[in-house]
């Protein structure tokens, strides 16, 4: 089993070139505090991207995971406030479970009615967001109401360093969770039967069925895992920014999909690696965060992200080019 395949090497090279370039434009990029903050911005998008990667390998696309993240985060934080509960493990389990259950809904509809995932997930996203905002509430849970344990958890650092002027900065411990999740996903995708069935289903659903894979089970695994990761990432996000905003993550799904495509996954399914996705997320976050360092006006950010997505899909489309007949 090779750890690196060719596509991943190309992505890593692009990343290196981009880093060198940004570093030349503004040497402040290489300051440890900037690198640490970049890594921190990777965590939430990266966790969601792992779920989207799974969906894309299976040949689908998911635009509902941000709504699931909001549901996991907001329901859990609001109930913690209401019940006056302070803890870490149980809330995260609940958020993950909420995301997983909502993912089960996606899997059920897509598999049962054999319907295009994009349209199903557009629908479920609207359903979930509408219910959360309409029934649970629209107000933020601010830092003064946020459960203390969550805040304390979110600000845990692995390493703390001191700047020349005495202020401190650190590398967030959440990065360890992200790395662990990525490693697990890599092992599941490459070493287990269910992981291989995702690739098989994405490459050709009919063939996967005839070989004997239970495709219904594969779909449930794919969409539940994607939902669970989103629910977990949602709560993690709120514990890192000390705020639970039910209108959060709007439009983030495009960034995450862009990152996964940048990482070399194919929308036709059957292709994609965890390492590529992790690198893709890093490239996207780095370029978004470095526009200011490079002196580019922030209004250009959407254009840059869109252009990057187009460039990435063009490259993958040329690679995956297949004849119509």
């Amino acid at each position: 089993m090779k750890l690196f395949n060719n596509a991943d090497v190309v992505i890593a090279l692009i990343l290196l070139v981009a880093m060198v370039f940004i570093g030349l434009v503004n040497p402040a990029f290489w300051q440890l505090s900037n690198i640490f903050s970049l890594l921190k911005s990777n965590v939430v998008i990266g966790l969601m991207a792992l779920g989207v990667l799974l969906v894309m390998i299976s040949g689908g696309i998911d635009v509902s995971f941000t709504a699931f993240a909001v549901a996991g985060m907001y329901l859990v934080v609001r109930s913690m406030v209401a019940l006056d509960y302070d803890g870490v493990i149980l809330p995260f389990l609940c958020a993950t479970a909420i995301g997983g259950l909502l993912g089960l809904m996606n899997a059920g509809i897509i598999h049962k009615f054999n319907m295009i995932p994009l349209i199903v997930t557009l629908g479920t996203a609207s359903v979930v967001r509408g219910l959360v905002l309409g029934l649970v509430g629209t107000s933020n849970v601010n830092i003064n109401q946020m459960p203390d344990a969550l805040i304390a958890f979110g600000r845990t650092d692995i390493a703390t360093l001191e700047r020349a002027n005495g202020t401190t900065y650190g590398l967030t411990a959440m990065i360890a969770i992200y790395v662990a999740a990525a490693l697990c996903m890599h092992l599941v995708l490459t070493r287990t039967m269910i992981g291989r069935s995702v690739y098989a289903y994405g490459a050709d659903p009919e063939a996967a069925k005839r070989v004997g894979f239970k495709t219904g089970r594969t779909m449930i695994f794919v969409y539940c895992t994607a939902g669970a990761l989103a629910g977990f990432a949602g709560l993690l996000h709120s514990s890192m920014i000390w705020l639970a905003n039910p209108r959060d993550f709007v439009g983030l799904e495009l960034d995450v999909i862009a990152a996964v495509v940048l990482g070399g996954a194919s929308i036709f399914g059957g292709r994609g690696t965890v390492l590529g996705t992790v690198l893709g997320v890093f490239i996207l976050v780095m370029i978004q965060n470095s526009l200011i360092l490079m002196g580019i006006d922030t209004t250009w950010q959407r254009v840059v992200v869109g252009a990057m997505l187009l460039a990435a899909v063009t490259v993958t489309a040329l690679r995956d080019r297949r004849a119509l007949v």
Binding site: T124, G134, T299, L310, L324
Partner: protein, 338 residues
């Protein structure tokens, strides 16, 4: 579908049986049902002319966007960039007016400038559609990803042009497009009706429409039939882009403002209405009348909900649930038909 079960002399029964296969008749019945229920719940408010007039002003934007989505779906594609295109058209025109009028303020501009603005807006839409079409047909990028990316770029360009806040203050002639009336009928509604008739003829009575549907029905067969697939797809996305720009022009004309994130919720609704109107997202099936009926019934529905003071978020929930229910029903019916 078995036709043999009911050999009755009853003409009404036969009519019902025959019509149950026709989506458009079903939609018409749904329309009337919603109208009846809403009237029963809120007779004094729902049936007021004010209510119908306000619906007639804001429905055409959504209707045109839905028709645009339907045309993209005919070839088996989808256009997720329509909202970006719509806003870009409105904002380009607004920027142009600001540039033309200078210090005097855009309100002083005459009819010539308005016509120029409409032309520029439509050209922007067509160019955006051309870009989508070329990406999809020449580079063979999946429509979902291509239009997702271009949509980002278009919204980004809107932000660059406006710097964030809304452009306000359009010429009087421009706002007439969104708020005026021709013989007591709102201008947007007239435009929508004209567009519907024209597009309906284009899709059902010309070889262009037939070829578009064939590409969606069976790409391989269309290739063997000698249809230039690439060129047809480019034209269909140009048409989609132009229609989206038209919707953007109406939106900015009605609100007298243009902003990068106006109408963001229209995207899902346009997909929903196109699917509800009998369009097959996998391609090959779709008609303008169905989409028009679907947009009317959903406008009635959401207006009724608003009158009963249901929160906007719950209306979003209803839209999403409706979409899923419709595809589930279509799928079950399709299975029975086979």
């Amino acid at each position: 579908m078995s036709q043999s079960g009911t050999v009755e002399n009853d003409g009404v029964g036969r009519l019902l049986l025959r019509s149950s296969g026709n989506t458009n008749v079903q939609l018409g019945v749904i329309c009337l049902l919603i109208l009846a229920v809403m009237t029963a719940l809120r007779p004094d408010m729902f049936l007021s002319s004010y209510n119908f007039e306000s619906m007639a002003f804001f429905m055409p934007e959504l209707g045109i966007l839905s028709v645009a989505m339907m045309i993209a779906m005919l070839t088996g594609g989808i256009d997720l960039s329509i909202i970006g295109v719509a806003n870009l058209a409105g904002i380009t025109a607004g920027t142009l007016f600001g540039y033309l009028a200078g210090e005097a303020g855009a309100g002083s501009l005459g009819a010539g400038a308005v016509i120029l603005g409409v032309g520029v807006g439509l050209i922007v839409g067509a160019l955006a559609g051309l870009l989508n079409g070329l990406l999809i047909s020449r580079l063979r990028i999946t429509p979902i990803l291509a239009t997702l990316g271009t949509g980002q770029v278009f919204i980004g360009l809107c932000l660059v042009l406006t710097g964030g806040p809304a452009i306000v203050g359009f010429p009087a002639g421009w706002t007439w497009l969104g708020n005026g009336k021709i013989a007591a009928i709102p201008v947007p509604l007239v435009l929508f009706a004209v567009l519907c008739v024209a597009l309906s003829l284009l899709l059902s009575r010309t070889s262009f429409g037939l070829r578009l549907k064939l590409i969606g029905t069976n790409p391989k067969a269309s290739l063997f039939a000698g249809i230039e697939r690439g060129r047809m797809i480019v034209w269909s996305y140009i048409l989609t882009g132009g229609l989206a720009a038209m919707a953007g022009i109406l939106l900015s004309a009605r609100t007298n403002a243009a902003k990068s994130d106006y109408g963001a919720s229209y995207l899902l609704q346009a997909v929903l209405i196109a699917v509800l109107g009998g369009t097959n997202p996998a391609g090959g099936k779709g008609n303008v009348l169905g989409v028009a009926l679907a947009v009317i019934s959903l406008t009635l529905l959401s207006s009724g909900f608003q009158m009963m003071r249901v929160s906007n978020h719950l209306i979003d929930f209803v839209w999403g649930a409706f979409l899923i229910a419709v595809i589930a029903l279509n799928s079950l019916r399709g299975r029975k038909g086979r």
